[in-house]
């Protein structure tokens, strides 16, 4: 299911929290939703779900969410790890959430087993850890096997094994043709997980594109070449106006160009290459570059 957010806008009195955001979430892909603290990610998600009132609209396969029936077969959302009654058992919580789509008891048990909460199904979640709360929230979101999963910081509080499980699960979920929109502060994790990214800062859209396209925005992207004739290649590139720097013996780094271009030049001039590889910036580097000025709550300098 394709999600299209159009001109989403939200004011909190004098604060313009979300400023006319438009982006799409494509089916069959995991879309990472990134932004610094206070950038408006959670507010945007609430707007998309119709929980908050504001400008713009969100269409799910061309229709508003309220036009889909049952809604829980269309979208499953997990917005907070503590959205449950502390005295209502995990099983009863999911039975309640399964009412709209007529979810069977067997499916509730199946989902509890999937997220590893089967042994505490009859326990009250008031004593659950943050990670267990996340699992319960995820269980609620996937209960009706919806076409869209919308998850706000689902990896917070999870241990490394659970994070890896979540990554595999979400990738598999998207691979079946469903849409996944997931926000996270764990950028390294998001780099492994997301196919596309939507980046916002101070309520403004910074980027909405594929992960490779986003990473290529970094000023640090470069081509690394190792060759026994590295000096000759550097001179040749220089004669064509391409700058390079030496990075150890027989290795040069050429910023701002593709491996295809450099490979063609080397091949045309008979220069043997031992290595020709792209050096892309990490998601964290690109994210920090692009959102540096858009941080709502700035940190002080460390000594």
């Amino acid at each position: 299911m394709r999600i299209e957010a159009r001109n989403l806008d939200k004011h909190f009195r004098s604060v313009h929290a979300v400023k006319g955001l438009s982006f799409t979430v494509e089916p069959g892909r995991v879309t990472g939703f990134l932004g610094p603290n206070g950038s408006g990610k959670s507010t945007t998600m609430r707007l998309m779900l119709g929980l908050d009132s504001g400008g713009g609209e969100t269409l799910y396969d061309g229709k508003k969410l309220s036009s889909h029936h049952p809604v829980t077969r269309t979208i499953g959302a997990h917005l907070d790890a503590k959205f449950f009654h502390p005295k209502r058992t995990a099983y009863a919580h999911l039975r309640m959430l399964g009412a709209e789509a007529g979810i069977s008891k067997a499916r509730v048990h199946e989902v509890l087993k999937l997220v590893g909460l089967e042994s505490v199904a009859k326990k009250r979640p008031g004593g659950f850890s943050l990670g267990m709360g996340q699992r319960l929230g995820l269980a609620g979101a996937i209960l009706a096997d919806p076409q869209v999963l919308m998850l706000d910081e689902p990896a917070n509080g999870l241990d490394p094994q659970s994070i890896q499980w979540l990554r595999d699960f979400l990738k598999h979920y998207a691979s079946t043709g469903k849409s996944v929109l997931v926000s996270s502060h764990l950028l390294s994790e998001m780099e492994l997980l997301a196919d596309d990214v939507v980046v916002i800062a101070r309520g403004n859209l910074i980027a909405a594109e594929s992960m490779p396209a986003f990473l290529s925005r970094a000023t640090g992207s470069a081509v690394v070449v190792r060759s026994p004739q590295s000096e000759k290649l550097a001179e040749l590139l220089s004669s064509q106006g391409i700058a390079s720097t030496t990075d150890g013996a027989r290795t040069i780094v050429i910023p701002g160009h593709s491996t295809d271009r450099i490979g063609e030049i080397a091949f045309a001039n008979g220069i043997a290459l031992s290595e020709l590889s792209p050096r892309t910036a990490s998601l964290e580097q690109v994210f920090l570059e692009l959102t540096e000025s858009g941080q709502e709550y700035r940190l002080g300098e460390t000594s």
């Binding site: 779900l49 907070d80 503590k82 959205f83 309640m96 009412a99 007529g102």
Partner: protein, 249 residues
């Protein structure tokens, strides 16, 4: 709409608080009903079955039901589950309608159970403590209420509690405000109005629970009491619903 009702039914009965408050309601109803039968009439005259069955319209009983009524929205806001509810049911008017219908069902069942308890109490009361003649004792003063009035008043009280919770988004205020209004604040207003040489009588005439009780106990000098009380209940409900529709979840 059926799905909304099933959701609310499961939400209501899957927390222990509902069971506890219902049990406490039945116990208090039984104790209040048993008081005049076992402890003597206290000069009020012989109790009748009708008087006994109007016991559960007393504010002490209704407070227990209003706790459950406030939880319809209060728990949702306190624990954030309102966002799950509204994601699942984006049409908010259906959410309000489902909660109201289920509240009506809950109050009806609880009231009937209360009458059953009072029936048991009456059947084991000392011989002669329940008569068939005379007006009997209304626990709220005045004439004993008809059974349908007991049911309607209980529901109306709970609607006010639920509506105040919608307005304030605070569980405790939804319980405490109707209780304070009915038991203390309105009494103080009547007291001050008595000192104002009739200049504040219009306020007294418009008080919600004073009118509600007057209607419940069939006071003959207040023929419009039922309408005024109904206006308060409807107004509070409409304001609460409008705020629920408009505000962010």
């Amino acid at each position: 709409m059926i799905a909304n009702l099933v959701y609310e039914w499961r939400r209501l009965w899957s927390v222990r608080a509902t069971w506890i408050m219902t049990f406490v309601y039945l116990v208090i109803t039984g104790l209040l009903g048993a008081g005049p039968l076992f402890l003597g009439d206290g000069g009020f005259g012989t109790q009748t079955w009708k008087g006994l069955y109007s016991t559960n319209a007393n504010f002490l009983c209704l407070v227990m039901l209003s706790v459950v009524a406030s939880q319809f929205f209060g728990h949702e806001y306190r624990y954030g589950t309102i966002r799950l509810t509204l994601t699942e049911f984006p049409k908010r008017e259906r959410v309000v309608l489902a909660k109201t219908l289920l509240l009506a069902l809950y109050v009806t069942v609880a009231t009937i159970l209360g009458w059953a308890v009072l029936g048991v109490v009456g059947s084991i009361a000392p011989e002669g403590s329940i008569g068939t003649e005379g007006p009997g004792l209304s626990i709220n003063g005045g004439e004993p209420s008809e059974l349908w009035q007991v049911l309607v008043f209980g529901f109306a009280y709970c609607v006010i509690a639920m509506s105040l919770t919608m307005i304030t988004r605070n569980l405790a205020l939804g319980i405490v405000l109707p209780l304070l209004l009915s038991s203390i604040i309105e009494g103080l207003i009547v007291l001050f109005a008595g000192l104002a040489n009739g200049k504040m009588d219009w306020i007294v005439d418009a008080l919600p629970f004073a009118n509600g009780t007057a209607w419940l106990t069939n006071l003959p000098d207040q023929p419009n009491a039922g309408l005024i009380f109904a206006a308060w209940v409807t107004g509070t409900y409409l304001i609460g619903s409008a705020m629920f529709f408009k505000r962010d979840a």
